[in-house]
Structures are given as C-alpha cells and as structure tokens.
Symmetry: C2
Subunit: 257 residues, 2 copies
C-alpha cells in the first residue's frame, strides 16, 4: 500500500548536472531520491514534470513519488528539507490521487529567461542571468515574439527535432519580453516545450534585441522547420522552470503544506 | 605623478571575509589590490566608502585608489574585470579629483536588507536574503521605522557604541519597509551608519514584524542608548550596501565608463 505525493520544488541548478540521475554527477533527481532513502530506507523513484538541463534552475518544478508507510505531508516536507542540500528545497508537498503524474497530467508550463544587458554583469546576478553586453531593443524582441506565439511547428527551435516522439508542433500560449529594474525577462507559456526550445527562443530573441536579426525573420525561420546556426541556444543559467499547471478540477490547486 | 580613480563595485559577499584585507582570508579589498598588482606590477591601496562585514554584499560600493602611469578609465575597467573573480565586478570607473575620498567625501549611503518570510526559503534566494519562517507584518514594521527615522543617538543599534570615534548620533534620512513579489525589503538611507547599525535595525524590525515587539517599543529602545538583547543583529547575507552618494557639484555624477 503506497501513497502518491506531489511536491513543488525549487533548485539552484549551478552545482548540478541537470535534473536526471547520473552515475558520476550530482543531479537534482539524485539528491531527492537520496533524501527519501535517508528518511524511509527504501529506494523511491522521483518523477518530474520535465527534465531540466545542466545549469538550468527550478523555481516551480513539480514532482511525484510513491511512499509506503504513514507519512503526513507536513512531516515529509520538513524531513526532506532537513536532508536535502540548501540549493534544493521542497516548497510545498501534499498527497495526490494515484493517477496524478507530474509530467503527463501537466496542462501547461511557464519558463522565464533572465538577461542583464549592460557592459558589466553585477556580481550577484552572475548565477541567475545571462550577460549581454549591449542594451537590448525590447520592442523589437516583442515584435518577433508575436510571430512565434501560437500553434506552430517549432522544429527550428528544438536542439534535436528528430528525437521528439510527439512531433514538433506545440502551442506557445504567450511569449513576452519585459524590462525591469534588474534587466530583461522573457516569459514563455505553453502546453509543452521541445528539447532546448526556450533557450532557442531566447537565443533568437536576443539576436533580434541586438539588431542582428529582424522581427520579420521569425516567420521564415519557423517555416523552414529545420534547426540552423541562425538560432543559437542561449546559455543555461538564465533559464528557470517557473511554474507547472494542472487541471484544478481534477487535481486541486497548489498549496503549501 | 599619480592619478586618482574612483570606481563603483559590486560583489557577492558569500565567499569573502568582508571588505577589509586580512592575512589568511579572501577579502574584497585583497582581491582588488591583487588585480591592480597584476595589471600594474605595483602595490596600491584601495579605499572604500565603508567596510562591509563577512557575508555582506555590495551592490554599489564606491572605492578610490591612485595609479602611476597612463591608464584610460575604460582600459582599466576592462583590465580589472579580466583579473578579478566573477563575484567582484567593477561596474563603473573614472578619474576623480585628487581630493576625492570614497569614505570622507560621501554625503549619504543607502543599504537594503532582503527577507523571505515564508515556511521554506526558495533555493535561489538563499545567498541573498534572510529566511524568516512566519509572515511579517509590514505595516507594523513601517510604524516602528517611523519612530527610528530622523536624527537620533543610535547607540542602542550599534554592535559596539563605545568604539565609535564620531559618537553615536546619526541622521537616518529614511527607513522604509516594502513587500514585493520576492519577499520583504528594508531600505535605509542616511548620512552615516554605526557598526552593524543596519543589521541591528533589521533585527529589531523583524522582531516587530513577527509581533515579538511593538512599534511603540522603538522610542524607549532609542532613549536607552545602550545595546541590549532586545535588538538582535540580523544575519549578514540579507544586507547589501546599495548606493553611496557624493556631492555632484564637487565630484560629478556617477556614470559608466
């Protein structure tokens, strides 16, 4: 008899070889499974909404796992955080229906990509933003983003379109660029994302912001359905998996435990 | 023949034993003097607007130093950043009048203290905010802050009032607490600050925000002019030296080089 738990997890990707467990490297999944092993003595697999690559951060990653025995959500949350390193935190945890799946039940995801566009990168931003030396034209970036939002074949924005088992058509519900006091943020919301799609969108938008490409180049790049050097993959440390959405009718709303 | 330079510097205090040079520990001053030695071959002393303690961050620290030889500001800025570790950055640099002194010419300083008030500290905030588990009452904190703003004897808010050679009266031009999407920020502006004064103000305001002390306790604490356990020193990682002001008539406005 096991109980399924669902957790919202944040992590600083700086020190990890990404989400997925690997033999010789520290990974977020590896640390979470180790913490559960400390608490329960058993090996438990932790499933996430979508793997993040080396150096990418989690702000609102969602995971699920099954535990035997009697665990209250609040005791389990405290126990996990006591065993996990401080750069991985379980921010919320609760029981979930047996058919809740962090990946397959997700109805949408939000990623954010952060950029500092100035001559020198402020010291305390270096781990969580990407540095672009010249000031970005945010209006041009938003004009380009408007061409990309919607349902399209995003093969030109995937690192490996042939690997995608579900094809390369996705719905980008919104793609917006905004300037804040702390630089520039790209916010991408969609029903699902291809491998390295957000970093490819960011790489393209940064080139537009620098004036190397025009917003009007976007439709032709989409239409080509082929990855080329025109679209670079922006570096990982600017990327945060920000939020994962689920049907609140079926799985309830997120809350802190 | 030497030229005086003035620089605006940001640093992540996490890995440093504070500003001031020490024999066996990495310090911000030590790293800056080492970078200058790499570039110029000579030993040059770097003076700052005010030392920061171990673990405290710099967002807009200002320094001055004198160099012999021909250096353009832009070449020096690039050279220093090439030699400095990434957690110390020279964000702006320019020639300054020979009587410019980062410390004694300063007319005001702004510090900011950042807090996350929730059950779990998000992973990527851990190095730059302090964690308070319960939600803070920001209105109460601002009511307390209103008692502290102005010209007062702040001996009760100094870690070592007897050590202060200029006495313990300072003008706190403003002290404000605001809630943002990323937690709570305390902003303190003044003509000068005593040793550990901002962390003491933060420690007191946090106790008020938690309901352990009342805003109306502030006048009596000020009046006592004696440090007691009522006022704790808040931890260093929440504190940023945010900005240092100088007379723009005498020394010009800050700009990037």
């Amino acid at each position: 008899m096991t109980t399924r738990f669902r957790a919202r997890v944040s992590y600083d990707g700086t020190s990890y070889a990404g989400w997925q467990i690997q033999p010789a490297h520290a990974t977020v999944q590896g640390e979470m499974e180790k913490a559960i092993r400390f608490l329960t003595g058993g090996h438990v697999r932790v499933y996430c909404s979508g793997r993040t690559d080396q150096g990418v951060h989690g702000r609102g990653q969602v995971v699920h796992f099954d535990l035997a025995g009697e665990w209250t959500a609040s005791k389990l949350l405290r126990g996990l955080n006591a065993k996990l390193p401080e750069d991985i935190r379980v921010e919320a945890l609760r029981r979930a229906p047996a058919d809740f799946d962090a990946r397959f039940s997700a109805t949408g995801k939000e990623y954010r990509y952060f950029i500092w566009d100035g001559p020198v990168m402020p010291a305390c931003f270096r781990l969580y933003k990407v540095h672009v030396r010249r000031r970005l034209d945010v209006s041009a970036m938003n004009a380009a983003a408007a061409h990309l939002a919607g349902r399209h074949d995003f093969a030109s924005f995937s690192a490996n379109p042939n690997r995608e088992v579900d094809g390369t058509v996705r719905t980008l519900r919104s793609l917006r660029v905004k300037r804040t006091a702390d630089g520039v943020a790209i916010v991408a919301r969609g029903d699902g994302f291809l491998y390295k799609m957000v970093r490819s969108l960011a790489g393209f938008l940064i080139r537009v912001g620098l004036g190397d490409l025009a917003p009007e180049d976007a439709p032709a790049i989409l239409k080509a359905r082929k990855r080329t050097a025109t679209v670079p993959t922006a570096p990982p440390q600017g990327l945060f998996l920000w939020k994962v959405s689920y049907s609140s009718r079926r799985f309830g709303n997120e809350h802190r435990s």
